[in-house]
């Protein structure tokens, strides 16, 4: 591997000329210490211990390092400064905090500005402004940056970061070529007469272009890819070639890309190059240019056709590599899902624009083209969250997609995700029900939607380790008359959500570690929870693996989430099999309740007949229901409370008990509620007992049922409000 070291002067040769592109370089022989550049990557200094964030992050799961790492990228001098500082705080799985601030100079080596972008666990990072002071030195080890974070209604946080590198990213490039072609990665910038008058004459290489974009570049020696003369390439063939010939190929996100110099694409000469890798799970790792395509056709009467072709090939190679960094075309910036709202740049003199498409055509383009990316593109490459930029990470054109959470500077609401067990570990096939708690942590009452914590109102993001994040799409979308609730200071509302499955399928099913994050939407405000980590254990038998294929289906999920169905026969059959074959597994508890619940009431179904539809009412079967449900809610009450979660366990038990009582099985109903009372009274989770008011309400329910009266309170609403 060959490192490209253009030297600090190339990246940082503008001294103190922040924001002034093309400033005259300062004299070099006797540099005054103040003029040493400061832009680059810094990491939290071990000399000054960091102050903790105001809201502690969740504990790291076993097997992950709980060390919090902080890096910042200061971008105020050197080549194309963006007057920006960005930072990444990481350390637990992938629950990163990423922030970006725009800077203005406020003094010698000092800048300040507002944080305008946040990504990740933003609730943990309420700061809104930064004050940045750099310590310059000719010795890298003596350089440092002090940042004071302020705003968000919190005390200031001061961090000192030590110098790591003058570059913001590190990327490895490999230039392979079709047999008979040449991977020419350099150009004489003054070889063609149509160029900016101010353009420095130099031998420019592709690695240097990306160094100037802020990336430390290493390269691998290129090698030929065998192909018969006249061969053309399809995208799939190139993807196959990449897997075989790229020395760094991996089905993983990595800061590395493969560049293939080929003759022609199968689609013909109108395709000059392509980032062909939108195939499979790891996009943007492979690019190609077609050296014999239209990019090798100089315009008629061009003053130096050979130089024109060299430049066009060079431009094309960098253009395709820009796509691998997730850069869109200049006129596409507002399309799709840009990482921040972006304006199109149809006239940009950027590697990402088409020379032929600007006003005045290619001659006008190249007469102003300085072999660079535009400032918004540089901002993205240098400062956007890593996953948006890194090859093989976010899918192509996605987060070129990210909508910034509308998090307030001083949050008045707090959302918690939790489970009623000491450790968030689930058996294989056990449905993952999460509880949500939204608390007013401000000093003023807040109006919230009564259904603010309903699954259909929330945004829930699920991410299996090593996989892309997915958004939970709940089965049910409520369409109800809006109602609001006043949430007093210190008061909370509660909800539950099935994280395992939705219309997307079973997103939390395979064994492994998952990260879950939820956002409740209150007015224009997004209240984002801390990331929550849970684990799914592997199957304990081959039998479980077989049955899992039937359990992890839409129909079975619907039966589980809706608390049973007499209509979805396939799902019922699967759950019946689960009860019979895996009686000691937790999925069996959920299956029993889902199978028994519909038997507790007269069940109405619309059945097709020759004349249309007929209402069929299947009578309740309280004895059969009790036989199914009692082993789950009574005999294994402790496990059920843990597996269903307290809110859901109580809600199910009360509903079942009321229905049993209504169907004439008062004794079973009382037994069920007694079991719930005894179980919840005895339970503590992380030292936290169940609220006394909940137990009191359950006792009232039990007494009412025992007296043969109908329970008047809407049990579910009460359960959600109080547990």
């Amino acid at each position: 591997m060959e490192p490209y070291e253009e030297g600090l002067q190339l990246l940082n040769d503008d001294g103190e000329a922040e924001g002034e592109e093309g400033a005259i370089p300062l004299p070099k022989p006797f540099p005054f210490p103040l003029f040493w550049p400061v832009s680059g990557l810094y990491a939290a200094s071990s000399i000054v211990p960091p102050k903790p964030l105001p809201i502690p992050l969740d504990p790291a799961p076993i097997g992950f390092h709980p060390i919090r790492r902080e890096q910042i990228r200061l971008d105020v001098d050197g080549r194309y400064p963006q007057m920006t500082v960005s930072g990444t705080i990481s350390g637990i799985l992938v629950s990163r905090i990423h922030w970006i601030a725009q800077l203005s100079k406020t003094g010698p080596s000092r800048w300040s500005g507002a944080i305008w972008y946040k990504d990740g666990a933003t609730a943990s990072f309420p700061y809104t402004a930064v004050d940045v002071t750099a310590t310059r030195s000719r010795f890298p080890s003596a350089r440092s940056v002090k940042i004071t974070f302020s705003g968000g209604g919190l005390p200031k946080r001061v961090m000192v970061y030590g110098f790591v590198s003058p570059y913001f990213r590190t990327v490895n490039l490999e230039f392979d070529f079709q047999s008979g072609e040449v991977a020419d990665t350099a150009i004489d910038t003054c070889a063609h007469p149509v160029r900016p008058a101010s353009l420095p004459c130099e031998t420019l290489t592709i690695p240097i272009v990306f160094q100037r974009a802020g990336c430390q570049v290493t390269t691998n020696a290129g090698s030929p890819v065998p192909a018969p003369p006249g061969a053309t390439w399809s995208d799939m063939e190139m993807h196959d070639a990449m897997q075989i010939h790229w020395s760094r190929f991996a089905n993983a996100a990595q800061w590395a890309m493969w560049v293939f110099y080929a003759s022609l694409h199968e689609s013909g000469t109108n395709l000059g190059g392509i980032m062909f890798d939108d195939i499979g799970p790891n996009h943007r790792q492979g690019t190609a240019l077609f050296v014999d395509s239209f990019i090798a056709e100089a315009p008629a009467n061009d003053p130096n056709p050979a130089a024109w072709i060299d430049r066009m090939r060079f431009w094309t190679a960098v253009h395709e590599m820009g796509h691998a960094f997730n850069l869109a075309h200049s006129w596409q910036k507002s399309l799709g899902t840009p990482w921040v709202p972006l304006a199109n740049e149809p006239e940009a003199r950027s590697f990402m624009n088409y020379p032929y498409s600007v006003a005045g055509g290619q001659a006008a383009f190249f007469s102003n083209f300085e072999f660079r990316f535009s400032n918004p593109e540089l901002l993205f490459v240098r400062h956007a969250p890593e996953r948006f930029v890194q090859m093989g990470n976010a899918a192509w054109f996605d987060h070129h997609a990210f909508e910034e959470a509308a998090a307030p500077a001083a949050p008045a609401l707090k959302l918690e995700l939790r489970v009623n067990r000491e450790q968030a570990r689930y058996e294989f096939m056990e449905p993952v029900w999460l509880e949500l708690k939204l608390t007013n942590i401000g000093d003023q009452p807040r109006l919230v939607d009564a259904d603010v914590l309903d699954a259909s109102s929330l945004t829930v993001i699920l991410k299996k380790q090593g996989k892309e994040a997915r958004q939970l799409v709940p089965f049910r979308q409520k369409c109800i008359q809006p109602a609001v609730k006043a949430l007093m200071p210190g008061e909370s509302v509660y909800g539950t959500v099935l994280a395992s499955a939705g219309l997307n399928g079973w997103d939390v099913a395979e064994p492994g570690t998952y990260l879950v994050q939820a956002a409740a939407h209150v007015g224009d405000e997004d209240v984002v929870s801390q990331p929550f980590v849970l684990r799914i254990a592997p199957p304990v038998s081959r039998d479980e693996e077989y049955v899992a294929g039937d359990v992890f289906t839409q129909e079975t999920a619907r039966v589980l989430v809706f608390g049973g169905s007499r209509f979805l026969e396939y799902g019922n059959d699967v759950l019946q099999e689960v009860v019979e074959r895996f009686p000691d597994r937790r999925i069996a508890l959920h299956a029993r309740v889902a199978l028994g619940n519909p038997m507790t009431l007269d069940y109405k179904r619309l059945l097709p007949t020759a004349d249309g539809l007929e209402l069929d009412v299947e009578k309740a079967k309280p004895d059969d229901a009790a036989k199914l449900i009692e082993p789950a809610l009574v005999k294994q009450a402790k496990v059920a409370a843990e597996s269903f979660g307290h809110i859901r366990y109580r809600g199910i038990a009360e509903r079942v008990a009321q229905r049993l009582a209504a169907a004439g099985a008062e004794a079973e109903a009382v037994t069920t509620i007694d079991s719930v009372i005894g179980t919840l009274e005895a339970r503590t989770v992380k030292g936290r007992p169940v609220k006394a008011t909940v137990i009191e309400e359950l006792r009232e329910t039990r007494d009412t049922l025992a007296a043969g009266r109908k329970v008047k309170t809407k049990t579910r609403a009460r359960a959600k409000a109080k547990v």
Partner: protein, 107 residues
Amino acid sequence: MDGLAATRSVMLINVALQDGFDGDTVVIRVDGAEAYRREQVTTRTQISHAADTQLDVPDGPFELEVDIPTRGMQESFQIDPNAHPNVALSLLGGQLVAAYPERLGFV
């Protein structure tokens, strides 16, 4: 285009369907006569290309009518093929827009 060729001299223009297409049907008419029809037109964003074709057109100003029934959109453009032999059509901001690049090539 036999009728057109029989009555007027013709020339070729290059037409590309570029950004914003997603499973669309595209019909192109030249002075009212259907010259191109394609279904399931979808843009590959990394090359800003969905489809391209060459059309016989009059050797003088003509009307290029573009119909996208899948979106209920219809637009007409007056084009002088001698000045604009390349036409790039895109769906941007809910509108069908035409551009006339110096040449059509995709990267």
